[in-house]
Each structure stands twice: as structure tokens, then as C-alpha cells.
Symmetry: C2
Subunit: 212 residues, 2 copies
Amino acid sequence: MLGIIRVLTTEDQAVLGKHGKIMEEDFHIQSVSRCIEEQPQGIYNDESEKAAVPKIVQLAEEMAAEDSIDAITISCAADPALEEARQAAGIPVFGAGTCGAYAASMLGSNVAIIGITEEVPKRMKAVLGNRFHSYLFSSTVRKTTDLSRSGAKEEMLKKAEEAVEHGADVILFACTGFSTIQLKEYLQAKTGVPAVDLVEAQAIAYYLIRKS
Amino acid sequence: MLGIIRVLTTEDQAVLGKHGKIMEEDFHIQSVSRCIEEQPQGIYNDESEKAAVPKIVQLAEEMAAEDSIDAITISCAADPALEEARQAAGIPVFGAGTCGAYAASMLGSNVAIIGITEEVPKRMKAVLGNRFHSYLFSSTVRKTTDLSRSGAKEEMLKKAEEAVEHGADVILFACTGFSTIQLKEYLQAKTGVPAVDLVEAQAIAYYLIRKS
């Protein structure tokens, strides 16, 4: 079973289990989701990431100690505490952002990242190296709640088309919120280039190590 | 449908279709396999790789022109002609070795490669960068035909255990022949660390871009 670490504090089971539900429905992956404490706004800057690191490491250690959990994923594009949690857990630990960046690297040479934040997640960009093509976001889609607004998908499509026009051969998402609005299918159909979704990328990483 | 390029010349349909058969059985992927001409020994040194490059590019172009084929993989650990074929095809092109190296990078920080050749495939090593841990091969398992010998799996296990003892947290195969002897399942069960199989890594790359 995959342990999913969510980096925002929530008691809403639907919110907490959102990524796990997609993995179950689309990939038949069994998982358990837990969240860090006292960060209802999640991670949104360097300070909030710093505060989250020891909480993520502790959660990873606790989950790794459970017999039923054989791998852990940190389900956040920023991959907070990835190395630290990996060292602490003693079982495979991966993260949404880097899994997405490696998945995109399989498929093309010029990877455009699209997100909702002003800055590109730095670990994702570092993984891409010279395969990084560009980072794009829409000025009108800046919070995950904006994603459910009508017109949001079309806004992201405009950005993706812009990137493809300038030579991008893969689109990589930098927001796990894109998974819940099926943006991948929409963009792939419209642009003709592969789009890499972060929940899917984590599912694929777990798929690689599932016990047979 | 996935187009599989085999880099050895064969008229034996079972040999030609071996990787496609695993992808169908294990991943429900439909594929068509074609091979390059006049290289019955495949690619085994720089010269034979150089001779294969234009043939692979031409085959990629031909396959990309077929409506039913929406992506192409070069099913060889050395990833010959990957960039050239990508530029020529106009549809996603990926390669066994780099897909494996990116897949392994999702899962750990110290990747040991095991193979049958004296030298580590250079593109795989380049992808791993500072995640490369070591390259190992057994002096008694040097040809794909050696893999079916009794004791071959145990020989590879010895090498994998050696790597894990010295800090490797992922085992990556550098030979597509390992896929046909189910080495992955055996090594994972015995060593407790994830093992990445090259046919599986290609299947996962195609899974990411399948049309929905």
C-alpha cells in the first residue's frame, strides 16, 4: 500500500483523500493519505516550506513503520523534504514534482512547465536541466479554487499552445490541482503533445515498485 | 499503438515481437515491432551503433507516418539515435535506456546499474548524473544467451546484493534481456530495493501519453 503525504492540514476526508481516489480509480492503487499538522494553507513560500519539513519527515517515519505501507509519496509539486524523508524512512520515498519532471524527461527534449504560482518549483526545474523549455502561468488562474471556474481550462490551453508554438514537445504540470479537472486529457487532445499529470506520475512511480 | 524499433536484424517473429509481447501481457499495450536491416548481431560497439543510426532514423520516420502509430520507442539500453529519431519523427520518441534511468531516478538517490556488457551505457549514466552509484556485471553472464543458463539469476543477485550493501537504493537494468527472465521480481523480493526493468520503463512512458 502507498502512503500519501498531503502537505496541507485538513479534516475534510474528501480533500485529504483526493489524490488517493484518483490513483485508485485510474490505476487500481491502494493507498492511505495523511496530512501534516497546523498548516491549513499548505506550503506557499520558503518559510511555510521550512516549517513543513520536520513534519513531513516525522510523518514519513511513522508511515514507514507500518507494515502495510511499502512506499511513500510526498504529493506536492515542490517536493518538500524529499531527501530528508528518504533518508529517514528506509523504504522508497518519492515526490510529485520530481516524478513528474522525470516522467516528462522520458517523453521529450523541450519540457514546458505550466502552473499557478509565480515561480517554477525549483526541484522540478533542476531535474529538467537543459530539457527545461519555459514556465507559464495564467494571470487569472492563481489559486487551486480558480481551477474550477469556467474558462480556466481554456486559459491553461492558451498557455500550453503558446509553449508548443515556441518548440515545447512536452507539457508538465506544476500543480496537483490540475489532476482533479482532467486538464491532461483536454490539453493532449487540443495540442497534440504529451501532457504529464503529477498524480499520474506518482502512480507510475509506485507502479514500478509494487510487490508482485 | 506503440511502434517498437528493435536494433537487431531478425526474421524470427518470436524474437522480433518479444518486447511487444511483454507489453501486451503485462500492460495491455498494443504495439507493432520492426527491426533495422543488415545487423544480425545488433549493436555491440561504437561502429555498429554508428551504422545503425541512419537506419533507426529512417524506420522512425516510416513508422511515424502511419496513422495507427502515435509514439515510437527504441528498445535498446544504449538509446541509439534517440535525439535524431525524435527530430525526424514528429511524434513522441523515447528509448529503453533513458526511460529506465528516469524511472529509477523517481525512486531513489543511489542507482546501481547492472548489465552484461563491460561498459555502462553512456546515455543512461549521463541521465543519472550524481544519482549514479555503480555499474556491475558478472564475468559469467556476458551474452543474452547466458541469461537462460541455470545460475544466471543467482549471479545477478550476487551483484545486486553487493550494490545494496554499498548503499544503492535502486537497481536499474542495462539489458532488455533481463525482462524475459523475470529478473525484476526475483531481485526485488531478495534485496528489498526497487528494480527497474527496461521493457516496463518503456511501457510506462507510453502509458503516460496514451490517448484517452
